[in-house]
Subunit: 361 residues, 2 copies
């Protein structure tokens, strides 16, 4: 049980510290121990009280539990942590993984879709997943009912990764028990939540960003408008990945989401060959973004940011504003603004919103 892992866990399990704040703390202070030590002071500078930090014995207990479950931690920026996922600004600082870890080194494609999909669409998803496996790709999905389940089934022998919204030891939905067990043995299960966490509605979009982030491309098979699958597709687009959709008749309400995705620019795919052709340009484009990101932040943060805190606070209000706009309006280097936001965040005075927006609490 390394001190580094304990400190990472204490940081990310602290309620005030999300993935972005975590990353900024590491970028600023170099390692988890130094970040942990700095948090109380930062929060005070941001005008708040020292946040509650996850305590050491709870962290040790979680690590033991993960070990008992036959799972292991993957830390952002270290060892086996999935390279593509690490490119996302809000990549989970720690993941728990169980199964064939070698799958993380292969090209991954996500297949997602409706839980109440038609039998034909499920059959299509299974065939597609099988075909992608034949071509050497790992199939990523969310172990939900419908399309997700079909995708895992089709790729069970060739390689599949199930990303769950709750703890790695929690089966959801219940009828997927045998499937989740099979994926954990023949494939791999990933989670960012502590063991024992029951999945709630708010966990699913977070889970979806991991699915999108792990994969060079995301294929949507049958999805209703405003469904979780479309969130995954949007997250994939935002991460610069390929978004693909399987079309359907305009008369079929379950095809509306996919057809709209295609109208919005997603690639229409009808086969595994189509998918492989679509993701090919994305292979090799992968760079180690976190390193670049850290370098940028570290460079800026060498400057004095004392004076910026006041102006950043002035620019914020109760309406969410893009961080980029705060940076532009403040005239300060981005690292300085990020530090100021970090302090406000740790002081419990900042809310972070989708699309890189922030507001004062």
């Amino acid at each position: 049980m390394t001190h580094d892992l304990i400190d990472r866990l204490r940081l990310i399990r602290s309620p005030a510290i999300g993935p972005i704040t975590f990353r900024q703390l590491i970028a600023r202070f170099g390692d988890p121990a130094a970040a942990l030590a700095a948090v109380p002071d930062l929060a005070r500078r941001g005008g708040g009280r020292a946040p509650n930090l996850f305590n050491r014995s709870d962290a040790e207990r979680e690590i033991e539990r993960v070990d008992q479950l036959g799972a292991r931690y993957l830390a952002l920026g270290q060892g086996l942590y999935p390279r593509l996922l690490a490119e996302m600004e809000d990549a989970p600082p720690l993941l728990m993984a169980k199964g064939q870890l070698g799958l993380l080194e292969r090209t991954a494609v996500a297949i997602v879709g409706a839980r109440n999909a038609s039998a034909a669409a499920c059959r299509f998803a299974r065939t597609l997943a099988h075909g992608l496996g034949q071509q050497g790709a790992v199939v990523v999905s969310g172990l939900a009912r419908g399309i997700d389940s079909a995708a895992h089934d089709g790729a069970l022998e060739s390689g599949t990764i199930g990303v769950v919204a709750g703890g790695i030891d929690i089966v959801y939905p219940p009828e997927n028990e045998a499937r989740q067990k099979a994926v954990a043995e023949q494939g791999m299960i990933l989670s960012e939540m502590p063991p024992g966490t029951e999945p709630r509605a708010r966990h699913f979009p977070n889970r979806n960003r991991i699915i999108a982030g792990l994969s060079l491309g995301t294929v949507v098979v049958e999805a209703a408008p405003r469904s979780g699958s479309l969130i995954t597709a949007r997250l994939a687009t935002e991460a610069g990945r390929e978004v693909m959709a399987v079309p359907g008749s305009p008369l079929d309400p379950r095809a509306q989401g996919c057809n709209q995705l295609i109208r919005d620019g997603a690639t229409l795919v009808q086969s595994a060959a189509d998918v492989m052709e679509a993701i090919r340009p994305f292979e090799g484009k992968v760079e180690s973004a976190p390193a670049a990101y850290q370098a940028r932040v570290a460079q800026d943060s060498a400057q004095d940011y004392e004076s910026a805190l006041g102006s950043v606070e002035e620019l914020l209000g109760p309406s969410p504003v893009p961080v980029d706009e705060i940076i532009r309006l403040s005239g300060a280097p981005s690292g300085v603004v990020q530090m100021a936001l970090l302090e406000l965040d740790l002081a419990g005075r900042l809310d972070r919103h989708a699309g890189g927006k922030v507001s004062l609490r």
Copy 2:
């Protein structure tokens, strides 16, 4: 019965003279009478015998017959001749029209698709046609079984144009007799073939170019790969018009053609509103292309082209070559090369192929 019409008819009904040759003759000689008079000499210069010209009494008989049928001629570049169709290089020099000629002044959208379409797709086509009618568009189609018939039915009250492959008095397929009569009365029927012509396989692609040419955009609803509907779509693309397709499940073989079209860049449409949105950018872009084309040819042809004939002939062989390439390789002005090709054509020594290619016979 005007002499101009008789002369036009004599030219275009002569076996050696197709729409492109017709247009070049008019551009070179100014009017049909002068063109008719010049043909024998041109053919001799091209190294052939004078071609058989359609004789005057046959032309007069056809004109009488068209009149008896309650139809009328529309001459390229004159009066009611459809402006968008006139933009095509191979626009029919003469059309026969029967019905509500005012329809030619409204925005037209083509709906085409499989003859053996599913009942659901036919219902969709009918609803789409009706919706387009509500938005003020005229629906153009080919009076075939399946999608074409459904499209005409949906737009019968709001305005529809049926383009037939045979003579304007020939019903095909036979079960469409009542429908064709209704379209001729409430809408309009168009044909470029002489009355009495039974439609043959080779006539259908020619008919399809009229459908594509009349319309700002073409919507394909259910089409098999390598079907006539895809030819219409290709012709629409080549004419710079919007090509739209209605998607379907990859599991449905009848959706393959449409899905492939979308992969190739066609706009996915699910409703009349989608179609109207897609064609909007094309409205107003219409220019009187034939006038521009004629001006260009006339300017060039003022030059002496005697010397070019030999070099053009040398550049030609039994394999089809693009006219543009002949122009480039010959170094002669395009009008000069076109004249040389025209002479070879009238001499019966030239074959014209799809895509603007020519070969020596």
